[in-house]
């Protein structure tokens, strides 16, 4: 009798759980899974949020609302949409240039704080007509090409910069680093076209690097996987491998950094008659020149996008790290020395024509 009663109670408890339970049960086809979120300036309110929702057929659905805060806007979208909105698969946040001018700290904080947004998503700035870029659709679109654009496994090239939400959050809080955010615009045949890199100081955009400069930026950061350098007409080399070595010095005047970059390149295109030695020299000179200019430009922005402060961390005390951006970074002396090594593994021999003349 007693055990019977216990059983009854157990059954009732179980039923209660079952009947009341399933709090989180929401079938996957009953929710929109947006992949891209555009954050622009609203016409009436502070933010305009645009969500891009792909479906398996390759179509993209757009949902848009304006509100004073992002979560409110999403709430409004949710109210009007026929399915619920699940942000867990959000992979790209696009900021309007105008929003960035007001600072993106709050937005990044929101993205990190929201527990349904993965912090491995990317951020980028739209440096063109915001609506046009967001609503730009090329058909037929494979469902996730917006994400693939930045994926290192898919469409990323060293000419693009890339920054994830967590990196942005880190740079925002870091004493020794600033972030560089890619600038996008709608493409002609592709979804986006890469326009360059925004140099941020804290959470404001202070300058812009063009595509070549972005390439150098990536080279310096070591984010490297294959890419071409064009030297003169008809001459370009393909970078196979790059080695970067930083020599740090710290004197009373401040930090000074000498960076050796060794590039293993193969010749992709060259006019006949140009020897490897010559190409080597040209590449070296050009890269050195370009680097110098880029570094100067970045330093002019007073933004440590290259993360040099992090390199100095071993030598700094806690106090000095805290003052890095304000005190030490402006005093930084920076030199770059590029070395180029032509490894010829592409099908044509360098000295072949010499042999031919010899035979003649």
């Amino acid at each position: 009798m007693k055990s019977f009663r216990v059983k009854i109670i157990a059954v009732i408890m179980g039923m209660m759980v079952l009947l009341e339970g399933c709090w989180d049960m929401k079938d996957i086809n009953k929710a929109y899974l947006p992949v891209v979120m555009g954050i622009g300036k609203g016409s009436k309110e502070k933010y305009k949020i645009i969500l891009e929702i792909p479906d398996a057929a390759g179509k993209i659905q757009f949902l848009e609302k304006e509100a004073k805060s992002i979560s409110k806007a999403i709430d409004l979208i949710r109210t009007d949409s026929e399915k619920s909105i699940n942000l867990v698969h959000l992979r790209l946040m696009l900021f309007d240039r105008k929003v960035v001018d007001d600072g993106i700290r709050d937005i990044i904080d929101y993205a990190v704080r929201a527990n349904d947004i993965s912090i491995k998503g990317m951020i980028a700035i739209v440096d063109a007509d915001f609506d046009k870029t967001l609503y730009h659709v090329i058909s037929p679109t494979p469902e996730i090409s917006t994400y693939d654009f930045f994926s290192k496994e898919a469409g990323w090239t060293p000419n693009q910069s890339l920054v994830t939400i967590w990196e942005a959050y880190r740079s925002q809080n870091s004493y020794s680093e600033d972030m560089a955010v890619p600038l996008l615009q709608n493409g002609e045949r592709t979804i986006y076209a890469f326009k360059g890199t925004a140099v941020m100081r804290e959470d404001r955009m202070v300058g812009k690097l063009n595509r070549e400069e972005t390439f150098l930026y990536n080279l310096f950061k070591g984010n490297y996987s294959g890419g071409t350098i064009e030297i003169a007409e008809n001459t370009s080399v393909l970078i196979k491998q790059s080695k970067i070595k930083h020599h740090r010095h710290w004197s009373d005047k401040g930090p000074s950094l000498a960076t050796d970059i060794t590039l293993d390149v193969v010749i992709a295109e060259s006019p006949s008659g140009k020897s490897n030695v010559q190409i080597e020299k040209e590449v070296r000179d050009q890269l050195n020149r370009n680097f110098e200019m880029t570094l100067k430009k970045i330093k002019g922005y007073r933004s440590d996008v290259l993360g040099i402060g992090v390199m100095y961390r071993p030598q700094l005390t806690e106090e000095q790290i805290k003052n890095w951006k304000s005190k030490w970074f402006p005093k930084l002396e920076q030199k770059i020395n590029v070395r180029v090594n032509v490894i010829n593994e592409i099908l044509i021999k360098d000295e072949a024509h010499l042999d031919q003349t010899f035979i003649r």
Binding site: M25, K26, I28, N29, A31, V88
Partner: protein, 448 residues
């Protein structure tokens, strides 16, 4: 063979007559053996009288020298004291001879042909081993084991259990290999519950004092003497039941879920591979349906976006939540499995085809369930049958539902909780003094 007062014999006779008078196969015949007259009492269906008589006639009955009797094949002389014992002997197929001068003998006669010969197994498909299987006859079975395993350490104890109907069982173990505690606990339980009725396997486990509700069988049953020998070598106690063509090895431990004893016939690497596969299939068959619900409705963030979109597409238009969907198809699947098990072998494939192909195809096209679900559930069912024995598979099949329900409420946390509970349950399970989570029955190590 014993001499009694003729009066007692008289009373025995009448007792026998009375007790069995409605049994049409019970006979009393006057026979002449070696020139002497006897009354033979026996069951016609169990005893081959003409043959027995001819053998008896050949030897003749020596009233004085009992030893001679014992030395003869298939003959046994006993000392019946009470009527009850006589009944038992009769029911076990013995022949009772009552002579003049109060002569009573119980003789092991030639039996009627009731047992089938040793054949190849019906419910198991060994790949690389001996192909003979146990039959119904206890002695044959013991003989099979003896033949497979020539060892003086092999102990065989025969006992009879039951009060209403009596069942002969044999307790077989290897001395020195099997842990003394195990043998002791089994013997103790058999002793204690000797009067329980024993007709089914469940009775046997109850007699051995195993818990009534277990998720996994506490024994391994096998039809193959070869496997039984391996079980013995692994330190298990084997119980053979008369008229039951399976041997039961006690206690089962966790590794029996994924290893069969016949694995040792393969090269070591293959054996490891096969066991890994089975271990994986165990995990898969328990978790897959639950995982489907988790990924589909509670924690869709676990899916990659590419997959999420296709899954969402495949569920588009399915009217009910994924738990109900999964339960429906699971029910259907169980029906197919149950339907095919007892069907004659030549109809089975038809059902499989109708159920599997036609219904599966139709149900997806009718948008009643998503096709991903069908894939998942079939994978789960297949991995279920990759487990070593049907008995194990049933427990896993059952627990799958628990996992399913819990994970539909609590998502991946529920799934985890269900698995944790199973581990705790396994850890707390102890049969015949051996914890379920042991590497082997031989050593004392305990773990999974």
């Amino acid at each position: 063979m014993q001499h009694f007062d003729p009066e007692i014999v008289q009373s025995l006779e009448s007792g026998l007559q009375e007790r069995f008078h409605q049994r049409s196969d019970f006979l009393c015949k006057h026979v002449v053996i070696a020139g002497e007259k006897f009354k033979a009492y026996y069951f016609r269906t169990l005893v081959n009288l003409p043959k027995t008589l001819s053998i008896l006639n050949q030897i003749g009955i020596d009233r004085k020298n009992d030893l001679k009797w014992n030395s003869i094949h298939s003959m046994e002389v006993d000392a019946p004291v009470s009527l009850n014992e006589l009944y038992n002997h009769l029911l076990r197929g013995k022949l009772i001879l009552l002579g003049q001068e109060g002569f009573v003998a119980v003789i092991e006669p030639e039996h009627a042909e009731l047992s089938r010969p040793v054949m190849s197994p019906n419910s198991e498909n060994p790949l690389q081993s001996a192909f003979d299987a146990f039959t119904e006859d206890l002695d044959t079975n013991i003989g099979l084991i003896r033949k497979k395993m020539i060892s003086d350490q092999l102990v065989i104890e025969t006992r009879s259990v039951g009060s209403q109907s009596i069942k002969k069982i044999a307790l077989v173990y290897l001395k020195g290999t099997t842990l003394p505690e195990v043998i002791e606990s089994v013997e103790k339980k058999l002793e204690e519950n000797a009067h329980h009725e024993l007709t089914t396997v469940r009775d046997l486990t109850q007699i051995l004092g195993h818990p009534k509700f277990t998720l996994i069988p506490t024994y391994i049953s096998s039809e193959l003497p070869e496997e039984t020998v391996q079980n013995l070598l692994n330190g298990k106690v084997v119980i053979l039941m008369d008229q039951f063509s399976f041997a039961f090895a006690f206690p089962a431990i966790v590794s029996d879920l994924w290893s069969t004893t016949l694995d040792v016939q393969y090269p070591l690497l293959f054996q490891q591979f096969l066991r890994t596969i089975r271990g994986a299939s165990l995990l898969l068959s328990v978790t897959l349906p639950g995982l489907y619900v988790v990924l589909n409705s509670v924690n869709p963030e676990l899916l990659r976006i590419q997959l999420a979109i296709t899954v969402a597409k495949s569920r588009e238009g399915v009217p009910y939540p994924s738990l109900i969907e999964a339960l429906l198809v699971l029910l259907l699947l169980e029906l197919i499995v149950e339907a095919t098990i007892r069907l004659p072998k030549n109809i089975g494939p038809t059902i499989t085809m109708i159920g599997g192909i036609l219904l599966g195809q139709a149900i997806v096209q009718a948008k009643l369930v998503s096709n991903l679900l069908i894939i998942i559930l079939v994978a789960s069912a297949i991995s279920n049958f990759a487990l070593t024995s049907y008995m194990n598979a049933v427990g896993v099949r059952l627990y799958k539902y628990v996992v399913l329900v819990v994970s539909s409420i609590f998502g991946i946390w529920g799934l985890e909780a269900a698995l944790v509970w199973v581990i705790l349950y396994f850890a707390s399970l102890t049969t015949c003094t051996v914890p379920y989570l042991s590497w082997s029955v031989k050593g004392k190590t305990a773990d999974e």
